[in-house]
Symmetry: C2
Subunit: 552 residues, 2 copies
């Protein structure tokens, strides 16, 4: 199918969804769309679903959208943000349900079931009760009646999604109840209707004192949820971010995934590129996902082995919006495509799904396909080089998370510290440090705790090291950081050359729009390179061995 044909197919209907093979029952897309029309962490225009406090959309476009989600195997969708406002909380009452149901009707035609994100405090917030305590009889009754009412409108609703006790949102802990108490009160309300609670595990102390070196944010999800294994009802799915930090370019898999033997789990990925280039910088997420799925969880199993078993669902935060190309960056369409395909079949490689996408999008030209595939496959490594080598992480501008700020988060309350000084950098997360590694299977604990066996690309996630620490190839840690930053810029320049060489083979619109993004990416790569290298040279007084220019 050519680019043109594919676009026609997307926009004008036609093909039935291609058959998909799957080992995972639920392939879920979460939208962080606010009911005012703004998309949190959205880089592709406004919400497809909401405007000015109402459900308000172009039905033709939603049909296109539902069809193409279906075509890549997505079978659950949540349209509203997990950060639920008071207005959006009304999506489970008669105030908004008639309109929500009409939206769900469209997705149903394509075999996609609806999920609604709810506010845990709803019984008080919109129900006018004096509490939202999950063990209170009035609250139990409120959720039960709310669920019964919702299912009158949407009989096949998959369930409710909840972000509670997280980043200033109230939850059961605020009332001295457990996460299980919280998840179960909703699960029991949904059970008669065969619905589920999707309960997010992004629970951590977001008002940490930087002086406190005992608290370690990556430990939080495991600490909060692992002890409760067995306490959750059968129709609760714990939705766990793939890494213990927050959708970073490089982090280990969450030790919570697979650790709980009696609780259904979902792995949560992020298609929207919050920390991975914001649909300005090229970043093929399939490469990262393949690594995530291939990573060991013990001496005998990989993450992939858990999927379809205790990890019964795979979820991602969408990267779509009202932009005409759906994803802002034309090539970021590949990320949504990859998510659907790999959610259906986590054994697919990045090479396979990206090859599929390129052919579907641009046709069969061999030169074009190879060059584009190489570029996409390289893109994650390139971005990692200029932003976060060795899992450096969090040297990002606060709040909006684009561009470098080496100490931006260093003294803040979010628990994200590199603690760099004149001689060394990083946090010791082994047993001798914060003890984070002990949350893993002993095989991984040992692997990560030993500097020699720890994967080098995650060295600074697990260890505090001097700048002159020697890596396996003989380079010092700091020289590696300098090198990768310079290489990252060069590689973006390479992308620009590649893209220019492909001009005659590309639809003009696609060529122009991507060329413009690549220019911005180069500016960003240079900014990262110069700021981070200058930061370290000022701090350490160590020069680049190759004498390249580092600003004073």
């Amino acid at each position: 199918m050519s680019y043109k044909e594919y676009n026609m197919w997307l926009q004008d209907g036609g093909n039935t969804p291609p058959p998909v093979e799957t080992q995972i029952e639920e392939r879920v897309l979460n939208h962080w769309d606010n009911i005012n029309g703004h998309v949190e962490r959205g880089y592709a225009g406004d919400s497809l679903f909401f405007k000015n406090g109402n459900i308000d959309y172009d039905p033709k476009r939603i049909r296109d959208y539902a069809r193409f989600l279906s075509s890549i195997g997505i079978n659950r969708v949540c349209c509203n943000n997990v950060n639920v406002t008071e207005r959006a909380a009304q999506m489970i009452t008669d105030v908004l349900l008639p309109d929500v149901a009409k939206l769900a009707d469209i997705f149903r035609e394509f075999g996609i079931r609806f999920i609604i994100a709810v506010d845990f405090t709803s019984p008080r917030l919109i129900g006018k009760l004096d509490t939202y305590d999950p063990l209170d009889e009035k609250v139990i009754k409120w959720w039960s009646e709310a669920a019964t009412n919702v299912y009158k409108y949407i009989p096949d609703l998959a369930g409710f999604l909840v972000k509670a006790d997280s980043e200033f949102r109230d939850g059961p802990a605020a009332l001295g109840r457990t996460q299980a108490d919280g998840a179960n009160v909703i699960a029991r309300a949904l059970k008669p209707h065969s619905g589920k609670t999707y309960w997010r595990c992004f629970v951590y102390n977001c008002t940490q004192d930087w002086r406190d070196t005992k608290t370690d944010r990556p430990k939080a999800a495991y600490d909060h949820f692992y002890p409760l294994d067995g306490d959750f009802d059968e129709n609760v799915i714990l939705q766990i971010k793939h890494g213990p930090s927050d959708f970073q370019v490089r982090e280990p898999n969450s030790p919570l995934l697979g650790a709980m033997k009696h609780t259904d789990q979902a792995i949560e990925l992020q298609v929207t590129q919050e920390y991975t280039g914001q649909q300005i910088d090229l970043y093929a997420l399939a490469v990262q996902w393949e690594e995530i799925f291939s990573a060991p969880v013990s001496d005998t199993q990989t993450m992939r082995d858990l999927m379809g078993n205790k990890v019964s669902a795979i979820v991602a935060v969408a990267n779509t919006g009202t932009d005409i190309n759906w994803t802002g960056h034309t090539l970021a369409q590949a990320n949504l495509y990859s998510f659907g395909r790999m959610a259906c079949n986590p054994s697919l490689t990045a090479n396979e799904v990206l090859t599929e996408w390129i052919k579907l999008t641009f046709g069969e030209n061999k030169e074009l396909n190879k060059a584009l595939l190489d570029m996409l496959l390289a893109s994650r490594s390139t971005y990692e080089k200029y932003t976060s080598p060795l899992a450096l992480g969090w040297m990002v501008n606060i709040s909006h998370h684009y561009g470098p700020s080496p100490e931006g988060y260093e003294f803040m309350k979010w628990g994200t510290y590199h603690r760099a000084n004149h001689k060394e950098i990083g946090v010791d997360r082994t047993e001798k440090g914060t003890g984070y590694t002990t949350q893993y299977h002993p095989y991984l604990d040992k692997l990560y705790s030993n500097k020699e066996t720890c994967p080098e690309n995650m060295l600074l996630y697990f260890h505090r090291l001097p700048y002159d620490y020697k890596l396996k190839d003989g380079r010092t840690l700091l020289q590696f950081i300098y090198d990768t930053h310079f290489e990252g810029v060069e590689e973006v320049e390479g992308f620009i050359n590649t893209w220019d060489n492909l001009k005659s083979l590309l639809p003009n619109e696609a060529y122009e729009s991507v060329a413009e993004k690549l220019k911005l990416q180069l500016l960003n790569a240079k900014e990262w390179c110069d700021v981070v290298n200058t930061f370290f040279r000022r701090l350490t007084e160590i020069n680049d061995e190759k004498g390249r220019h580092i600003y004073d």
Copy 2:
């Protein structure tokens, strides 16, 4: 007058304004109130004048406000923010003028003339012209007609206030015109009505590249305006921030003040405590203003000598809002009082005006008055110690400007860099560096350029120095920074003790509200102390000589 009586006087009317002696014709208060009701850089509640896009106020409260402004000698007031929104721009059209005029009527009763902040692009923005070029005939006519119409409603309007070519607001430079072209087109429209243009000089490159060491933000106002001396019409007043940076705790006086011989000037101060504690931390601005007015502008004159001459107006950004005590922090009332008194008579000392305010507010108790006076007189130095010794500056959290972030602005586009590395810190602003000092009278150029004669409290404003640079008392520069930070915390603890000891002498409400603020101030002081000291110890590896605790 007791605290209670004073409050009654403020709120229930009574006394006529006390007589004021003055050598400065215009004592102006600028409010940065948005028409939606929010106050930019406001720390005392919402706007007294606006709500939800309209002029909307409690007339009784505005009468109280106008009366007390009048009582301290204020005779001009601008109620709307210099960052004018499209809606607020309508304050000079029939859309909002009827309501604006009613507000002006209230102030008129107390001898206070109105100023309106306007958007320079109004001819296009609200006039529907295709340009706002100040030399275009249509634009000239538009301003003229707009002015004529405004004066029908407010015959004694003092003039229009303009922020143009500043922080992403368009101005004449965007069209290749000069600042004089811009100011004059409005001045000529106002002239038949005896109005003036108040033209702000806060024009600088706010998209600077941190790699660019030639551009130096403090040079901007002088570079932009000094060459135009003589080009401005007689009824233009250039409104110049007192320092070349932006209302910092410590900066030299702007070299532009007094440099222009043929142009009327206003010195702009900030009563609202944007960078000086945000009405949480105690900070008696009178102390700083006394220093500003006493500072030399040449070998024979001080700033005070210019005031009432070429500096014909004194302006400040207000610190008031809908909070019941008007200023958030009860003791911040002293800042508004001090401004009015010192604007009338810049020869008054901080000691004098603060003594007056204390007596008017709390009565005649000697113990109370002395303790409170000592605390207020010390407060500026205390705040300086824990935030910005040696005019360090800008180590502040971005955007909201409260609390420490040593590198928060270091790689940003705002032109505010300390360029600290392992060995040294600061920017050389002498002739050998950015050349900023050459903008001053030769006497001051020489004074500031020489490390030995430069006032030590501004050392890092003018010089780049190693951490082991010896100050006059033998301490190193870094030890001084460590010392002042620890002292700042101790002094806040001292304020808390003082305040507690005064409890029985204070009205309970005043005691409680200030005690609460002091607790918050102590947290802030500790945060500054620990973050800044840790930052420097990480960077330099130099320990505190006295062995006090600095976090790793």
